[in-house]
């Protein structure tokens, strides 16, 4: 099972971008780890001490059965249990938009991890803007396929919104990558406006400017 070197497989571009941001042999907490794909990728390619939290009982059990250290828990409730700076990285991949209190969740991530890495769908993408402008309805894209009444995403934001939240929480952006549906990075690092218009998703690596003095 785990002790074999497996071919790295991931269907998610943001996972590969996140993996690039993670230093080898570090301690990682993936909040909302799903079926453990990112944890497995990080364990296989970066030899990290990988832990996960996942809401769905079935997914947790599947993760543990494949040898990953995962607990059943809720990002909105259970992050308070963790001590300050217990991990090198606290990761939230395509999950923040589904939390009840994104601000508090992000605060906890910045507290628990020396770095926080967050990926999220960008609601500022031009197709979403034009959908809303032209048709006057809540946009539905491949990233956001559900109708508004069935969507788990209660707190969608744009890249610009997210940058503002980072400022509000005194978080320094160390890296920010926007990418399109083909998974291609956008070579427009300097312009936030262009990233916000052309990026379908984004990955941010953050650091709290005044970290808590945890253990």
């Amino acid at each position: 099972m785990l002790h074999k070197t497996e071919t790295v497989q991931t269907s998610r571009v943001d996972h590969l971008l996140i993996a690039e941001m993670v230093a080898p042999e570090s301690r990682v907490l993936d909040v909302g780890c799903g079926d453990g794909e990112l944890l497995q990728l990080l364990a296989d390619t970066k030899a990290v001490d990988a832990r996960g939290v996942e809401l769905s009982r079935e997914r947790v059990n599947a993760c543990v059965a494949r040898g990953l250290s995962v607990i059943q828990g809720d990002a909105d409730k259970d992050l308070a249990d963790y001590p300050d700076q217990a991990f090198d990285y606290a990761i939230l991949s395509l999950t923040i938009q589904a939390t009840l209190r994104p601000r508090e969740v992000l605060q906890h991530l910045l507290r628990i991890g020396r770095r926080a890495i967050i990926s999220f769908p960008n609601f500022g993408h031009w197709r979403i803007r034009t959908d809303l402008l032209l048709w006057g309805r809540m946009p539905r894209t491949t990233n956001l396929p559900e109708p508004w009444y069935a969507s788990p995403d209660s707190h969608l934001c744009t890249i610009r919104d997210f940058v503002e939240l980072c400022e509000l929480l005194d978080a320094a952006v160390e890296e920010a990558v926007a990418f399109n549906s083909a998974g291609r990075r956008l070579p427009i690092k300097r312009s936030l406006s262009l990233q916000n218009l052309l990026g379908e998703k984004a990955v941010f690596k953050l650091r709290h400017r005044t970290p808590a003095n945890g253990s």
């Binding site: 099972m1 785990l2 002790h3 001490d49 832990r51 009982r57 947790v60 059990n61 993760c63 543990v64 059965a65 494949r66 040898g67 990953l68 250290s69 995962v70 607990i71 059943q72 828990g73 259970d78 249990d81 963790y82 001590p83 217990a86 991990f87 253990s215």
Partner: protein, 398 residues
């Protein structure tokens, strides 16, 4: 000589060919056990079973801690009942706890009645059974006795310690008191402290035993009698707590026992009554009433937070063990909420912890039953720990 060891007997179980070794070790009076009560107990004997082979560097030892009415016969035919071992579904060749790979040790607990020193044992000072002169013991004392056995076997670190219910309490105590001796810990269907409700049920059981006129203030051995009725009632009451309302309803409903109508008497008209009576009467054939009193007391006294300044996380501070905490949805004796408290305490010290809740309607006893999702998670967790510990992968059997 440190301890007196009886010659190891070896036999093969009928079905799966895994050799079981029955061992006993007696620690002499000069090396007594320092009990949590402040008293000393010595000499004392620990009876244990082992399965599989200890590897060269003694890194593949797995300690199994049994529950209140369990014993060391984990996966061999029970010598008294002739039934399969109580965890034969989980432990054995190719099973999640694979006896082809691990050296599995299961001692009968201190205070038990299957060969380890307990209230039915003869007090060498008097030549008669201890009865109520046996000291009140704790879960910590049980673990201290097990630690003496592990030292006797020359094992520095256990690859894994696992157990359900009271066995899980011992796992937590091991992980807390012997941090460097536990590589992986699996507390299953358990809690870090015994709840008021659980103490209440135990008190009912103890009162049932003590109300039996044949109990004779615990001195029944000297008079050649056994408080069968009292112990059977205790078992019947306890057995209900190991199940769930759904499980009872599915198994028995309001079905009548071998009769077409009510008898308008106090016979066991209902199947559930007949079942409980059977559970009670078979239990007394294999269990000592005083042991039942002492062991339930040890569980009632268990409170790992209280032992650590009322902060459960302190029990685990500095641990490097990998934990896998397991609960079952329908277990109302040790509900998921209590497992979650253990997980919270482990998170508070950034311990490496997995936590699964298994969907089952079987109640507390689910940990003893055929629960495929439970087995899959245990197998995955243990295999990943084995890989990290550098133990060889399972041998593919032709």
């Amino acid at each position: 000589m440190m301890a007196i060891q009886s010659p190891l007997q070896q036999e093969r179980t009928a079905d799966d060919g895994v050799p079981v070794h029955h061992g006993t070790v007696t620690f002499p009076a000069e090396q007594p056990l320092d009990l949590d009560s402040g008293k000393k107990l010595g000499p004392f004997t620990i009876a244990y079973n082992t399965y599989g082979t200890l590897n060269g560097d003694k890194s593949n030892a797995v300690l199994i801690c049994h529950a209140l009415t369990g014993d060391q016969h984990v996966t061999n035919l029970h010598p008294l009942t002739g039934k399969e071992g109580w965890w034969s579904l989980l432990v054995g060749p190719g099973k999640p706890i694979d006896t082809n790979r691990y050296f599995v040790i299961c001692p009968n607990i201190l205070g038990g009645c299957m060969g380890s020193t307990g209230p039915a044992s003869v007090d060498p000072a008097t030549g008669t059974p201890y009865g109520l002169t046996f000291p009140v013991i704790t879960i910590g004392d049980m673990v201290a006795a097990q630690n003496r056995l592990i030292e006797h076997l020359g094992i520095d670190q256990l690859f894994a310690v696992l157990g359900g219910s009271m066995g899980g309490m011992q796992v937590l105590e091991w992980a807390s008191r012997h941090k460097d001796k536990v590589y992986a810990a699996l507390p299953i269907a358990t809690a870090a402290w015994h709840s008021s409700q659980n103490i209440a049920f135990h008190e009912v059981g103890r009162q049932a035993v003590m109300a039996d006129p044949k109990w004779l203030r615990g001195d029944y051995h000297s008079h050649g009698v056994v408080p069968r009725n009292g112990l059977a009632v205790a078992r019947m009451a306890a057995h209900i707590t190991y199940l769930s309302e759904d499980a009872l309803h599915e198994k028995f409903g309001r079905n009548l026992q071998n009769r077409s109508d009510r008898t308008f008497s106090f016979d066991a008209d209902f199947q559930v009554e007949s079942y409980l009576r059977h559970q009670g009467s078979t239990f007394v054939d294999r269990f000592d009433a005083n042991s039942y009193l002492y062991i339930t007391r040890a569980m009632d006294y268990f409170d790992l937070a209280a032992e650590n300044g009322d902060v459960l996380a302190n029990a685990f501070r500095g641990t490097r063990a990998r934990f896998c905490v397991v609960s079952f949805t329908s277990d109302w004796l040790y509900p998921t909420r209590e497992s979650r408290e253990i997980v919270q305490a482990l998170n508070a010290v950034a311990a490496n912890v997995s936590f699964v809740e298994i969907d089952s309607n079987a109640g507390h006893d689910a940990f003893l039953l055929d629960e495929p999702e439970f087995f899959a998670t245990i197998r995955g967790f243990v295999e990943s720990c084995a890989a990290k510990r550098g133990l060889p992968p399972p041998v593919e059997q032709a």
